[in-house]
Structures are given as C-alpha cells and as structure tokens.
Symmetry: C2
DNA sequence: CCTTCCATGGCAAACGTTCTCCGAAGACTG
DNA sequence: CAGTCTTCGGAGAACGTTTGCCATGGAAGG
C-alpha cells in the first residue's frame, strides 16, 4: 500500500506528473475536470507526498533544528512543548539535540543539523562566550534565533523574557508586603539570565533599603546552592542581621532555600519571604508554594517561530532583533504575610513587548 | 563556502563523481593516489555531504521519530535525553513530537513522521487502547518500538521497566523496615504502569498482611491525587485504622501524599512510610526525600535504540519482543524508620533483562 | 478569416546522491 | 603468448519531486 508516487497517480488519472504536482501544490491553474480526476486518484491510491524528494528539489526541508543545553533543566520541557506546538502548527518538524551543557557538543550538533539541511535553527546556547563562534557560524548559513539565553551581542536574533521587568515586579511586590531587608541569592557568571536579574535587583532594591543592593550572594542556578546560601546568610546569625526576604534568581534556588529554611525552623513567609523566577512546575509544589515570575512561555515560542521565517540569511540582513517579552508575577504562599490581608493575586498582564535593535 | 557538491569535489580532484562517492562511502576500493587527491579536495573545499540527496537515493534518512504524550511529564525529559544520546551516537537524528495526551494528535504525528520518511519510530503511547490502531498502522510501515507504556498485546516491540520487580523491591524493603499495615495509592485504568504496579502490589502485599492487598485507593498519576488520597485514607481516622506505609504508584502521587501528610502533622517516616516509583528529580527534592524505584533510564534508551535496527518490517518479522529491565530501589528518608538502624542503602543491582515473546 | 493571446497540459531538466554497468588496463595462468 | 581475472575508473540511470519551457487549442480581437 505504501510508496505510491506522483508517477502512479499520473498514470491512474491519465495525465502527466507535472499536472498532478500542480493540482496538489496549486502552483498553477489546472482544468476542473483533470483536477477532479487527479484528486480522485490521489484519494484512491492513498498517495502521500515524499518530503525527502520535495526537499531535494525545492531546497527546503520544512525542518527546524532545536539545540538546547539540558532538557532536564526543569524550565525547558514546557518551552520545548510550546515550540513544537508552534512549529507543528506550521507544518514544520523539529529535530531535537541536547548538548549536555557542553559547547563542544553543541557545535557538533549545530553542524550536524546544518548537514541535514534544516531550514532554520532555534538555539538555547549552552554558554555565553564559548557558544558564540559556533552559533555565529550557523547563523551565517540559516536563519537562527536564540532563545532564553544570549551569547554575546549581535550574534543572532533573540527572544527572551524581560528579566529586568520581572525582577521589578518582584521588588514591587515585596515592597507592598512590607519587606525591608532584602537579600539576593543569585548566580555568578555572565549568562544573560544571571547577569540581568542581578543587575535589575541591584538597580531596584535601593529604593527599599540603601543597603540591599549590596546584599548579594552568588552561586549557581541550583537547589543545592539555594540550601548553601541559607546556611551562609541565615544560619547562626542574630535575628537583627537576617534578611526579611530572599530574592532568588530562579525557582530552583528558591526551593533549595525554602527547604533549608524550614529545616532550620524559620517561618516562611512570617519571618522571611522567598521569591523565585521562571515559574517551573516545582514552584507550585513546594511548601509553601513559591511566589515567582512566570515566563510567557507560549508567547516566547510563538515569537521565536515567527522570527524564523522572515529573516533573510546573509549579510544583507538588517540589524539583529532582540525581542523581550514581559513576564507576569504569580503570588503564592511564600510571600503572603499574615499582616498584609489584601495580597494582590497577580499583577494585570502588561505586554509591552519591547522590540529593539542591538 | 556553502553548498559544495560531489560534483565540485570531482572536478577539483580530476575524477568522476562516482569515484568521489566511493572514497567517501568506502563502498568499493579506490586507488591510493586518487583517494588521496579526493580527500585533499574534500578538505580544501570543505565539502559536506547533503543528507537529503543521500536519503532520497538510498531510501534511508537516518532519522528516528519520537512521539510522546507530554514532555512535561517529569519522567520523560531524562528519557528523552538518554534516547537522543543513544541515537546521536549512532549518527541518527531525532524528530520530536509531543501529542499532549491526545491519541488523535498522536495519530497525526505518526503519519506526519512517516511522510517525512523516518527510518523508525519510538513511541510512548498516549493511551492503552485508543493509541492502538495508529501505532499498529505505523508499525506496519517502519520498525517501531514502544517505550515505557504498552498499547495492547502484539502491536510492536516494546521496552519498559519491570514494574512487578520494582514493586517487589518496595514491598521487601517495607517488610524489613517493619511496616505491616500497607496501603496502595495508585492509578486506575488499564495503562501498563498503572495495571502492572497495582497487580504486583496485590500479589505481593499479602505476605505482610492478609488485608493489605485489598487496601487500595485508585486515582491518577498526579500530585493532586496524592493529596486527595491522604484526605481519604488518613485524615480523620483513628490511629489504629491508619496505614503505616503508603505505597504510591509513582513519585508524583508520593510527593502529593507526603505534602498533605506533613500538613496534617503526620510524622514521616516515623508514623507512616511513603514510597514512590520512577525516581524523578522531584523525589529527591521532597522533604523528606522519597524512597523510590529508579528506572534504568539509560539502559531503556540503549535497548530501544538497539531494537530499532534489527527488526525487518513487514509480515515476515518474528514475534514481537518485549524487553523488561530490572529497576533498582533507592532508599531515602521517607522510609528509614528510626528503629531500623541498619537501613540498607540500596539493593545490589540485578539486571536479569527478561526477554520474552508475547 | 487571420492573428494574438490565454488557458491548459506535457516534456524534460534539474536537485545531489548512490550504484549498476562497462571498459581499460595490468596481473595472472596454462 | 593468448586468454582469463582482477582492479580501478567513468558514464549514466535512478530516487520523487518541482518547474521552465514548449505545444496545442480555442477564444478574442482586428
């Protein structure tokens, strides 16, 4: 039953392959009678076009390569899902490659995907600096959109959450909740999420407390670091020196911090509030559930998909576009203090979708 | 720089395309001198073979389709990662499709992937019954391996964890820990994981307590059900009627149960032990960390990849193979009772890799 | 009525490989 | 030394599409 070709359909419907191709592609008008005969034959024989042959001829595979650092990073599965939805809606298939946080493997996957003639690439770079060369090389060959993280200025178009806006939402919320001694628990390094969230904290926390911007502990984006940070910041300190809010750079850190705080007998949020960033599923499962900044994942995916088409590859391409989408605050138990009874459930969704050229 | 073809290499090295193809593929011996010239030209021009053309001619795309129910199910990211590793090691690319638990979407993805001429399919079926027809149809066209879940007998080769063995490990461990009033919190339905784990519990729990096999609560594989189950089983009951161990059918249920137990002030594991299944990352993050059964994910992936090649498609194919891999118990805080000081850290790894024909 | 022009359909050349023939040598064997 | 084998290289036909170009025929316009 399988392997019916255009040729077979042509024979069955008594016309030529060209005609069949045309009625199927609609690339040129075809007589009504012939068209009907062709469609009948297509139906009867169960013809299915061969995408490989089509790709060879038309120089377009309808395939997008997706390269990411670690699918096990809990933020990525939802992103991957939304991406595949957006692309499949457009009849495009997704070739997946996980590079295990290794820029070398990433480079290998990029060139393997190019060898497979992907139409475009979606890349969440593994490293701000070390990913740069390979990504730039790939971007010179096909349209390429960076997702979630950057890798140096001017390398390619990019789509990410507006980290500064997200952090501002957090600070504003904590201010309303009455927190005054903030402490940031973040990640060191120059990766965009780490740097931007830290910078936004430093820029915005001063309003509440002139000392806050300096109160920063840096590690990495992990649960383990969240626990360790609490040991450094909280454990064995007099109550007066303890912060009344831990602003964590992502949800993993927040969950780790929360866990250790509870083990130390601290009252969250009574004694200290905790916030995260990203809104991974775990944030809602923690106890208490973590107030966090929800990334507009579906919109990020849609935007990335949109960007993929309309960029001519090569030098004549205009300046790189960098799209930042506004996130949304999700208030949960880890910050709703008993005193503040009017806890706002969530800030109304603003979506100023900043579009700027780098 | 791009788009160097065999033809270009042939011209540069002063021989024919056939010869170039041969030295690259090694499909036939070629004179040492010519081979060297060809290789030099390949190097100089930076030739990269076009996989699309190759696929069209050789009728093999080197591409595997992977269809799964929900990438956001926390068990799948690791599985996907291991699968991509295993397949990439073999120079095969992975086309990913997420069907959002919808058998209809699943059927659509299967046929879309077949249209794209995938060499084989890896499927985690969305539904035990409703996935059957589409999967069977696909299996008739290309080698197809079912992963993690089944979808009726005899549909295709399958690879999964040995659920019965895993449940046996749990029961044995709980026996050693001194638990006697067991209760199973599982999922209803006929899906293999749900049914097999339930059956194994019912078969094995009687040894500890003749009443235990009957003590079963069924919902679905979710955190919410874990919470709800505790409300039904535990809350408002006299201590004598309460179980001293909750055997959960997966980690999500266990985490939900744990959360509610803690909210109700129950002492875990002092008062009641809790076990999970799968060993998703969350199991280790819960507080207390959940004792669970770790699926041999890397081995499952490797086995699936192995099965893909060596199955001739069509009727002459032998009986369906069903591979079950032995899991391993991971003991954590949710079951190590203070009284039992000699808590075994983990059972030695047995891997009897049952291979049987259905 | 003859020209010009659409509207429609077919032929055949691509796309970049792989692989089957064939032919021309040189290396053996009898 | 003639015949047969083996070894290496090239020509060219596929693989299943898309598409530029030409042919045909009828309609429209002069």
């Amino acid at each position: 039953m399988a392997d019916v070709t255009l040729h077979d359909v042509a024979r069955a419907s008594g016309c030529s392959v060209s005609t069949v191709s045309r009625v199927l592609a609609g690339s040129r008008p075809v007589g009504a009678a012939t068209a009907a005969r062709v469609r009948k034959a297509v139906e009867d024989l169960g013809y299915r076009p061969n995408h490989v042959a089509r790709a060879l001829r038309s120089r377009s595979t309808g395939t997008i390569g997706l390269v990411l650092p670690q699918i096990t990073n809990p933020f990525y599965p939802t992103l991957v899902r939304e991406l595949t939805y957006a692309l499949h809606a457009d009849e495009r298939a997704v070739l997946l490659a996980d590079c295990d946080d290794d820029p070398l493997a990433e480079a290998g996957h990029l060139s393997a995907l190019l060898d497979r003639q992907v139409d475009a690439l979606l890349v969440i770079p593994a490293h701000e600096q070390h990913s740069r060369a390979a990504v730039a090389a790939a971007a010179a060959r096909v349209p390429l959109v960076l997702l979630d993280r950057g890798c140096g200025p001017g390398v390619a178009d990019s789509v990410a959450v507006d980290n500064a806006a997200g952090m501002a939402l957090v600070l504003e919320h904590l201010a309303v909740e009455g927190c005054r001694r903030l402490c940031f628990v973040g990640a060191s390094g120059t990766a965009s999420a780490a740097a931007e969230r830290r910078a936004a904290y430093e820029a915005g926390a001063g309003v509440l407390d002139p000392e806050a911007p300096g109160r920063v502990a840096l590690g990495d984006f992990s649960v383990a670091w969240g626990r360790a940070a609490v040991d450094r910041i909280w454990a064995g300190r007099p109550a007066a020196e303890r912060p009344d809010a831990l602003v964590c750079a992502n949800d993993l850190i927040a969950v780790g911090a929360l866990q250790r705080l509870r083990q130390l007998g601290a009252d969250v949020p009574g004694e200290v509030a905790v916030t995260g960033f990203d809104d991974i599923p775990l944030a809602d499962l923690a106890d208490p559930a973590v107030t966090t900044v929800r990334q507009p994942v579906a919109e990020l995916a849609a935007e990335a998909a949109r960007l993929l088409d309309r960029r001519p590859v090569g030098e004549q391409a205009g300046p790189r576009r960098s799209i930042r989408l506004a996130p949304r605050l999700v208030v949960r138990a880890s910050t709703s203090r008993p005193s503040a009874s009017h806890t706002p459930k969530s800030v109304p969704r603003t979506r100023p979708e900043t579009e700027s050229a780098q």
